[in-house]
């Protein structure tokens, strides 16, 4: 029956004949994808022009190294949040993990004089503890949301408060300092002009980007976020992918927290939740075209979102905008950038379809 079936020309609305499936259509298709991926480029160029006009210090290697170092920690958290958004979830508690994980690790490492716990743990073991804490928080979130069928918003909001409370509770709102060099290396060291944190962040972006494009679990993330029922029907272990992504996201947040702790050579009770970094994390991801509905987004977009926020922050600082006003202006710029990203990228961030 198959062999003598005539080729059915099911042409018409929405389809073009198969003859067109050569170079031409490949070109148009990948063009659209490419356009979306570099959607923020004009905005970035505009910002760089604005920056160099308003401040002579802007267009210098050291300034850009600074932007890189300051954005690296945020960037690593954005990678984690992007992955979670792409499976159709959300995690507000990444900012809590970003504060608590380095806090606990540092607390176990530094001496009592620096408000440590007194175990004087090796800094390397401390980093292992930090990663383990991140994984544990992600696992709890994932199990509650996926297996417990609780709403991700309220679970991670509750988790945020718990984590922030622990962060302040264990050291009674003190700041931990005297971090050993090995613990601070990732956030503080530089190779030549290049901050190590920037190099590591770039490596993470590239690896995760390649993972999402070429690895079967990475592809499964798109399928799970795009249509979980279809992914399940195709034999994908949807629950496992989701929980795994929550774990990975929290581990990345913990590593981001380690970078930040190294950069400022201390862990404060404010790191993460107190600074309210989660808005910037969501903003960078969404500006970069990661869909809040799941299934869409890529690391090039997420990275450009991070760079955009970093440059805005930098311009505001260089231009001596009053500290009292910097947050309001920063917030307004982010809202404007979200609007621009919507226009350029065409991706709606609205909840309704």
């Amino acid at each position: 029956m198959i062999s003598r079936s005539p080729t059915v020309a099911d042409g018409g609305a929405g389809t073009t004949p198969p003859a067109a499936s050569g170079i031409g259509s490949w070109f148009t298709r990948s063009n659209v994808g490419l356009l979306r991926e570099v959607a923020l480029l004009p905005v970035l160029i505009l910002l760089i022009v604005v920056g160099s006009v308003t401040s002579p210090a802007f267009l210098t290697v050291s300034n850009f190294a600074g932007i890189g170092q300051q954005s690296a920690a945020l960037g690593v958290v954005v990678v984690g949040e992007s992955l979670i958004l792409m499976i159709g979830g959300m995690d507000l508690s990444l900012e809590g993990t970003y504060g608590l994980a380095p806090m606990v690790a540092a607390w176990l490492i530094v001496p009592i004089a620096a408000y440590g716990e007194g175990t004087d743990l090796s800094p390397y073991l401390g980093i292992v503890v930090l990663v383990a804490i991140g994984a544990a928080i992600g696992l709890i979130n994932g199990l509650l949301i996926v297996k417990g069928r609780l709403n991700g918003f309220i679970v991670t909001l509750g988790m945020t408060i718990v984590l922030a409370g622990l962060q302040n509770g264990i050291v009674k709102a003190q700041t931990l300092f005297n971090l050993p060099p090995a613990f601070g290396y990732l956030g503080a060291a530089s190779i030549g002009q290049l901050p190590v944190s920037l190099i590591v962040a770039v490596i993470i972006f590239v690896l995760v980007g390649l993972f999402l494009r070429y690895q079967r679990t990475g592809r499964a993330i798109y399928a799970v976020g795009g249509n979980p029922a279809a992914a399940r029907a195709a034999g994908i272990k949807v629950d496992r992918v989701k929980i795994g992504v929550y774990v990975a996201g929290s581990v990345l947040a913990a590593i981001g927290g380690l970078m930040e702790a190294g950069r400022v050579s201390a862990v404060t009770g404010q790191q993460g939740y107190g600074e309210g970094i989660i808005f910037n994390v969501f903003a960078a991801a969404v500006i970069g075209g990661v869909s809040l509905k799941g299934g869409r987004g890529n690391m090039i977009g997420a990275a450009s979102g991070v760079i955009l926020l970093g440059i805005v922050q930098n311009i505001l600082t260089l231009d001596n905008v009053s500290n009292y006003w910097i947050e309001a202006i920063d917030g307004a710029v982010i809202l404007f950038a979200l609007f621009l990203a919507r226009i350029v990228g065409g991706e709606s961030t609205a909840e309704t379809s």
Partner: protein, 526 residues
């Protein structure tokens, strides 16, 4: 359509392009009050585009739409548009958490709502048209058929003079479909015009006075139905180069045996004689499901055999397919695939055990709409395609998908085209290709031809039969579409979650099947 009265809805010379694709070319159509006009055409022929234009959602590039001789309101002015024409879409547009009255007046309530007036007017409409649904009921508590009535009532409440029904029987059981026909006749008798869109030609012959056929965006036939035969319509839909329908088993008039039934006829008896492996054995399976419960079903499928399961929608036809495929949990009994027990409710485990699954609703389970054709088709086999680090290149996916898409004559602009952009029939082919990709030893297909045009239907069923013949896979075809069952070697009829009877010798008598699905024993049937 010679007009005796004035046309209620008239479109002339409609043109519509989407990018480089011509969706409609010089389409004209007119509907008079009290007329029921059938609109048929294959997937991708332009029906959906015409529906969108008639519903005031899409503006044509050229041509005019007029209502009662006046030009139509501008596109987007839905309130005024609805005074003339209202569409009951394939996918329910009902808000489940609102009451019937609220849904009937959805979007057309005044600023301040008088609940009593709204309920009274809803009750009045229901009463006038002989519908029996209480205005205060929550829509989530209604059946599919009742939801459709609410949508029709919504159209009537807005005073629509023409009702557009888009595939209205696709989700209805046979009896409910019959009652729908009565309602359509009632509407036309009351002076309402009905535009009836359907893949089921029998329905068109039954209730439409006239029929219009779209092919490749052009209106190729518009004539009164009494002067036409079924083959006339099929030829108009498919074009002249279509092999006469009677030679093909599936499209042949239902119930007529065709001597050259190659696939199942040739292999299955042989397989049975050799006692070759039972691929599926189900023992005393029970399940509680919203789709219809199972109360102790046992059955077997052998290699290369195509077994049909049919019955009313509530009889558990979809449930048994879903449970065997691992998409739903059972509450008792066991499923064995090639002798190995498969735990219930774990789709990934069932797939690894060799169960392919073509789900009943392709929109919710069949594909990921923004991912490409090749990616969707190979979604079941990423493990096989990937290297030992789990890496797989897009090029490998494209290569792996190509033979399958070719086999099913899937039409797309390329392997990267998002499946959401394809026509309904091609989307279904993606779902089928995804299943064939992992070389299943058992294929569970649930209503695989729903919403698929005649030619694609043949192709899909033909490919299932071909796979059974070529690879020795067993097929469990769960469908309430009796014409699907023509490819089966045996048909099991479920009634209220139990095996009622089994038809073992094709061809199956359509009337006997219908009687059996109703649970009426018929000694003469076997």
């Amino acid at each position: 359509m010679t007009s005796s009265g004035q046309a209620l809805v008239e479109v002339t010379g409609i043109e519509k392009r989407f990018g480089t694709t011509r969706a409609l070319h010089d389409v004209s159509l007119s509907i008079k009050a009290g007329q029921c006009l059938g609109l048929v055409g294959r997937n991708g022929a332009g029906k959906s585009t015409l529906v969108s234009i008639l519903s005031g959602l899409v503006e044509p590039d050229a041509g005019t739409v007029s209502f009662g001789g006046e030009p139509a309101p501008r596109v987007g002015d839905t309130a005024r548009w609805h005074e003339w024409i209202a569409t009951v879409f394939q996918h329910s547009m009902i808000v489940p958490d609102l009451s019937v009255a609220e849904n009937v007046f959805l979007g057309s309530t005044p600023g301040l709502i008088s609940w009593r007036a709204m309920r009274n007017r809803t009750s009045a409409i229901m009463r006038d048209w002989g519908f029996d649904i209480a205005a205060g009921t929550l829509c989530r508590d209604l059946s599919v058929e009742q939801l459709q009535i609410v949508e029709i009532a919504r159209a009537l409440a807005r005073g629509a003079k023409c009702v557009l029904l888009d595939e209205p029987t696709a989700t209805l059981e046979r009896d409910a479909g019959r009652r729908l026909f009565d309602r359509v006749r009632q509407l036309t008798a009351g002076g309402v015009a009905v535009l009836y869109i359907s893949h089921h030609l029998e329905e068109v012959f039954e209730i439409c006075q006239d029929v219009a056929v779209l092919r490749d965006g052009e209106m190729v036939l518009a004539a009164p139905t009494p002067g036409l035969s079924r083959d006339d319509l099929v030829i108009a839909m498919v074009g002249e180069n279509h092999a006469p329908a009677a030679q093909r088993p599936v499209a042949s008039a239902v119930g007529h045996p065709t001597p050259d039934r190659e696939a199942p006829g040739a292999t299955a008896p042989g397989a049975r004689q050799e006692g070759e492996g039972v691929v599926l054995s189900v023992e005393n399976l029970t399940a509680d499901s919203t789709r219809g419960r199972l109360s102790g079903v046992s059955l077997q499928v052998r290699a290369g055999e195509i077994v049909g399961v049919t019955g009313l929608l509530s009889a558990g036809v979809a449930t048994i397919g879903r449970v065997i495929a691992g998409a739903e949990e059972s509450s008792g009994g066991e499923v064995r695939v090639r002798g190995r027990r498969v735990p219930s409710g774990q789709r990934d485990v069932a797939q690894r055990a060799g169960v392919g699954y073509i789900p009943e609703d392709r929109h919710t389970e069949g594909f990921v709409s923004h991912l490409g054709v090749a990616e969707n088709v190979t979604m079941t086999v990423t493990k096989r395609l990937a290297d030992r680090f789990g890496l797989l290149s897009p090029a490998r996916r494209v290569t792996a998908a190509a033979p399958l898409t070719r086999r099913l004559s899937l039409v797309s602009s390329g392997p990267g085209q998002p499946v959401g952009e394809l026509s309904g029939g091609n989307q279904q082919k993606v779902t089928v290709a995804r299943t064939l990709a992992h070389d299943p030893s058992l294929i569970v297909a649930i209503t695989p031809t729903r919403g698929v045009d005649v030619a694609s239907k043949e192709l899909l069923l033909g490919s299932l039969a071909g796979v059974a013949r070529d690879t020795g896979a067993g097929v469990l075809l769960c469908s309430d579409e009796l014409s699907d069952l023509d490819i089966c070697d045996r048909v099991i009829v479920l009634v209220r979650g139990e095996v009622f009877t089994e038809f073992t010798e094709p061809p199956f008598d359509r009337d006997a099947l219908i009687v059996a699905t109703e649970g009426i024993a018929q000694e003469a049937a076997e």
